[in-house]
């Protein structure tokens, strides 16, 4: 679905990505793991053509119209209500407004339909941003830290939603620095450290390879083992 080959990206003198290569399969949840500043958002920006790379190539197996995107900056219209925000995009995609309402329900915002975005809590805004990303039922979904800063209950709700989207046939590319999330959700992960992918594969396989199985797969231990730094 996504293929990235030898991508190099510099900001001025700083090399943020050095020869990053990976591939994701259709209908899987692929997790990109790395600490803050590793270059996760930069990879999403390059894959969605918001940034151009210095060298290397990338391709995705769907049209831009078939991708959905949730970034750390939500880009919502602060004065518009939840439903108005979604309806702008429903109109652009040529979808009926009742779809906006459906999607709001699926992220648990049915009580905030007419609330203005600038009166929402952080978690609610994040769920609205997710709702906008999935409104047009994209085949490929980019989620940049979809649960960061959310309470455990809300995060679990979002996890369920992500899993059900995958089961309906979507491919999901997400970034996180939360190990448990990665182990619970992802079919495969790549560990990003200082702009290089240091390990990739199924979470359990990776942990087996590094004898970090303990009672549950412990990706955190693998990461510390390989890089000497913690993820969070």
């Amino acid at each position: 679905m996504i293929k990235m080959t030898n991508i190099v990206k510099r900001f001025g003198a700083q090399t943020v990505l050095s020869e990053v290569s990976f591939e994701t399969k259709y209908k899987e949840i692929f997790g990109l793991l790395g600490p803050s500043g590793a270059g996760k958002t930069t990879i999403i920006n390059i894959l969605t053509n918001q940034l151009s790379q210095d060298s290397g190539t990338h391709a995705i197996g769907v049209t831009p119209f078939e991708t959905g995107l949730m970034l750390d900056e939500d880009g919502l219209y602060p004065r518009l209500s939840c439903i108005e925000n979604l309806n702008v995009f429903a109109d652009i995609y040529g979808m009926p407004h009742k779809k906006s309402l459906e999607v709001l329900k699926s992220v648990g915002l049915e009580d905030a339909v007419k609330k203005a975005v600038n009166t929402l809590s952080r978690g609610m805004r994040q769920r609205l941003a997710l709702a906008r990303a999935i409104l047009h039922e994209p085949k490929l979904l980019f989620l940049d830290e979809p649960t960061s800063g959310l309470d455990p209950g809300t995060a679990r709700g979002i996890h369920r939603l992500i899993l059900s989207l995958r089961d309906k046939g979507a491919t999901i590319f997400l970034t996180t620095h939360n190990m448990d999330e990665a182990v619970k959700l992802c079919d495969r992960v790549a560990l990003l450290h200082k702009g290089k992918i240091v390990e990739h594969g199924g979470p359990a396989d990776i942990c087996m390879r590094h004898n970090a199985m303990k009672t549950v797969p412990d990706l955190e231990a693998v990461f510390i083992n390989m890089t000497g730094t913690a993820l969070q």
């Binding site: 918001q50 880009g75 919502l76 518009l80 995009f89």
Partner: protein, 231 residues
């Protein structure tokens, strides 16, 4: 077309909730109305339409400029523009949606001005036409400033001196021969002259305003290519 309509509706919903933008549209006609009723009507030596033409000319030079620039700069600052671009909205669709809305409101306000001024028939049509033409030039110039500005603050800082020159120079031109000559190529000056004298020929001033539109449009295209609407 669907997309332009979506942006148009977004802007309509947003502007109705945004007092800061709304006031730009309401301020000038209200001022004109108050001055006309309180000063022009009772006085024998002041033409009834004097304040209307004065404020209408200022309005056409300023309101579309300021509002389009601040809307685009805000959309850039809040990153909402990125999501439109990613959803496949083309820059010209976005601009037509935003400025289409601003110009529609502009047209309503121009009609309002015409009614306050009490113009009839041909005069009324000429008046609205000239104001609309000026507003188009003003809106595209605003879009250019919006696109090159990183955020709203920068847009406001850029727009202020520009509109000061555009909106007030026609007034100074009344008193000073040199300023009058220097500003005769500006669309605001032509609009101001036209709305003050309906007997003058439309051809030359309209050509000058159209030339202004052409120049700001080229400026916009250059600014867009250079700065893009992305990050």
């Amino acid at each position: 077309m669907r997309t332009i309509k979506a942006i148009f509706i977004k802007q309509a919903c947003d502007t109705l909730k945004n007092w800061m933008v709304l006031i730009q549209f309401i301020l000038f006609p209200i001022m004109a109305l108050i001055m006309t009723v309180l000063i022009a009507k009772p006085a024998d030596d002041i033409p009834n339409s004097m304040f209307v033409t004065m404020f209408a000319a200022m309005y056409a030079g300023m309101t579309p400029l300021v509002t389009v620039a601040s809307v685009i700069a805000e959309d850039k600052e809040h990153k909402s523009l990125r999501f439109l671009v990613i959803a496949g909205v083309k820059p010209q669709e976005y601009l037509l949606g935003i400025s289409g809305f601003v110009l529609t409101v502009g047209l309503i306000v121009a009609v309002l001005f015409g009614l306050i001024g009490g113009f009839g028939g041909v005069e009324f049509v000429k008046f609205v036409l000239v104001l609309t033409l000026g507003s188009v030039a003003s809106a595209i110039l605003g879009a250019t400033i919006g696109v090159i500005s990183k955020n709203q603050q920068v847009a406001t800082a850029t727009v202020t001196p520009v509109f000061m020159i555009l909106a007030f120079s026609p007034m100074f031109a009344e008193f000073n021969e040199t300023i009058s000559k220097m500003t005769s190529f500006l669309y605001t000056r032509q609009v101001s002259m036209l709305v003050n004298d309906f007997d003058m020929s439309l051809t030359e001033p309209v050509l000058i305003v159209l030339a202004n539109i052409a120049v700001v449009f080229v400026l916009f295209v250059v600014a867009y290519r250079k700065k893009g609407l992305r990050i």
